[in-house]
Amino acid sequence: MFDQNELRFEMVQLLDENGNGDEQELASFSDEFLVTLYRWMRKVRVIDERLLKMQRQGRIGTYAPFSGQEAAQIGSVLALRKDDWIFPSYREIAACLAHGLPLAQIFQYVRGRVMGRKMPEDLNIFPTQIIIGAQTLHATGCAWATKLKGETQVSVCYFGDGATSEGDFHEALNFASVYQVPVIFFCQNNHYAISVPVHKQTASRTIAQKALAYGMKGVLVDGNDALAVYKTMKQAVEAARNGEGPMLIEALTYRLGPHTTADDPTKYRNAEEVEQWKRKKDPLHRLRVLLEKRGLWTEEQEEAWVAQVNEEVTEAYEEATANETGSIVDVFDYVYGKPSKLLQEQQQEVARRKQRKEVR
């Protein structure tokens, strides 16, 4: 009889909520790395807050904030090589930035511009996925290609707790394990899929244990502990790179904001719960405590850094909006390599309308 009551449950944690941890373990992280990690996390938090504000001002469209999940996203991406592939969903803006996506490009995306989902040519980031779970298969196929070519990139697929209920998640993990391809399934279990709490999503005690269904390895990690995430990811990525196959990582975290700017989270979760996570378990807090203990960070540095990032955001916004291109005429260029005659007719019609200023 297989019964989850007989499984051993443990969660990888290096740094607890108060910034304490096993000294020897912590000593393995260089000062430089810790500062880089923290800078990234603070930076994306500022960006997230600015984007939220801009959405309220009507400068960008519906937005899915990621605050609270910085450790999971930054911690995991910093463990990657520049040429590794990542497969983001709508909530992985932090991961995309850390993997090299320019901020100005993010603005193209959140402003719904034609070129908004075009990733720069030298960046191995798949276009943002909206369909929950669909990217798990793309990541698996991409990693499969890497393996067949004898190359060494790893593919990292981001998704949420809700995504684990989709059939595609199942098919992806199964294929990945059957073919032993270098893909990491990185689940940010932020406790909710819009309004649905994870205990209504699945009766399994963890997401990580779902790996057992595929003969895959699964790890549960404290997703608000950037060091634990980094270390776990590093190990998983190196194993995958060495041909040891895929892994499922569950990073336990929490979305502090609404699902998107169209969502009212007070409908489905209470203020105390959110406060708990905000006050006690903030992923930035514990890292900052560690930095301060090591004398690596001060309030002045914090302020300067925040100011600098704010400046960057403003500049990127201005750059992105200064000469926004892309009109309805252009969308016809990206349906096929060569449009059919009937499609060309439609494009010509639209081009005429554009000349007549009927459309933009």
Binding site: G61, T62, Y90, R111, G112, R113, V114, G116, R117, I130, I131, I132, G133, G162, A163, S165, E166, G167, D168, A193, I194, S195, V196, K200, Q201, T202, A262, D263, K267, Y268, E324, G326, S327, I328, V331, F332, Y334, V335, L342, L343, Q346, V350, R353, E358, V359, R360
Partner: protein
């Protein structure tokens, strides 16, 4: 009579049917505690409890597939697909399973489920949230396809759909959810599935539309009247079963036809209507049928969607073209 929005009408229809018939249950993503991402199911969990309203796991095939089992074993599930673009995930369960249970079992089993789903553009959604995919289902025998354009119809059609013995896809134009209010009777009523509505009578040209595009067409038809073109506007309301008689009567009268829909043009339901008309009334046509539709590209990003959707300029131009004959 109260003036309510379409979303309120939809909510009211479900509530009243749940009060009337305890076999009616509601399931889908975020339909319970949250009351639906558009609040279509607001208050249902509170009123009917968690044995009649279910927040399901995030799995569309699962939602439709379990609804089939629920329906065959005595319930009348109303399943929500949060946005129609996600219905691709449930295509087998809808088009190959729900649609064929009666057929496969030679009538032993029926599958009375209603699949509600918001669709349609103009509201700046992320990718795959706006696609109009009705034609996938008009090509799937065994399914009924209903697409209301206003609060009154939405209530009456949804009640009829819930009472229907066959699976009904009920597609709600999200742009119209709160676009205007309308007098809607408080008591439950049915609008039979398969009866079109003549929005405006006219002599010169027939404009056939459904769902999201109807208010725009109706408004333009009113404007045209002032400019001397008397358009008849038909709101199909239901694509399957189709009210072929109302269409043909109008076509015989006007001889000029425009079809307006948001779905991409090629193989949209407009193609079927154009084909039916030219099959049945070719020699009554004074002019080629005009289709004003989405273009043959995937639904585009927000910054250009208004220029992709059927708009006033294209519809007016189409009518002018028709009147030139």
């Amino acid at each position: 009579m109260a003036e309510i929005t379409m979303i309120q009408a939809i909510n009211e229809a479900m509530r009243q049917e749940m009060e009337r018939d305890e076999r009616v249950i509601v399931l889908g993503e975020d339909v319970g505690t949250n009351g639906g991402v558009f609040r279509a199911t607001d208050g249902l969990l509170e009123q009917f409890g968690d044995q009649r309203v279910f927040d399901t796991p995030l799995a569309e095939s699962g939602i439709i597939g379990t609804s089939i089992g629920l329906a065959v074993n005595g319930f009348r599930p109303i399943a929500e697909i949060q946005f129609l673009g996600f219905v691709y995930q449930a295509m087998d369960q809808l088009a190959a399973q729900a649609a064929r249970i009666r057929f496969r079992s030679a009538g032993r089993f029926t599958c009375p489920i209603v699949v509600r789903s918001p669709y349609g553009g103009g509201v700046r959604t992320p990718e795959l949230h706006s696609d109009a995919l009705e034609a996938l289902f008009t090509h799937s025998p065994g399914l009924k396809v209903v697409m209301p354009s206003n609060a009154y119809d939405a209530k009456g059609l949804l009640i009829a759909a819930i009472r229907d013995e066959d699976p009904v896809l009920f597609l709600e134009p999200m742009k119209l959810y709160r676009a205007f209010r309308m007098e809607v009777p408080e008591e439950p009523y049915e609008i039979p599935l398969g009866k079109a509505r003549i929005v405006k009578e006219g002599e010169d040209v027939t404009i056939i539309s459904w769902g999201a595009t109807v208010p725009l067409v109706a408004k333009l038809a009113a404007d045209m009247k002032a400019q001397g073109v008397d358009a008849e506007v038909i709101d199909l309301r239901c694509l399957q079963p189709l009210d072929i008689d109302t269409i043909m009567q109008s076509v015989e009268k006007t001889g000029r036809v425009m079809i307006v829909h948001e779905a991409v043009k090629t193989n949209g339901f407009g193609a079927e209507i154009a084909a039916l008309i030219s099959e049945r009334a070719l020699f009554s046509l004074s002019a080629p049928i005009v289709r004003v539709t989405g273009y043959d590209t995937p639904y585009p990003v927000p910054s250009v969607e208004d220029d992709w959707l059927p708009n006033a300029a294209r519809i007016v131009e189409g009518v002018q073209t028709l009147m030139r004959y």
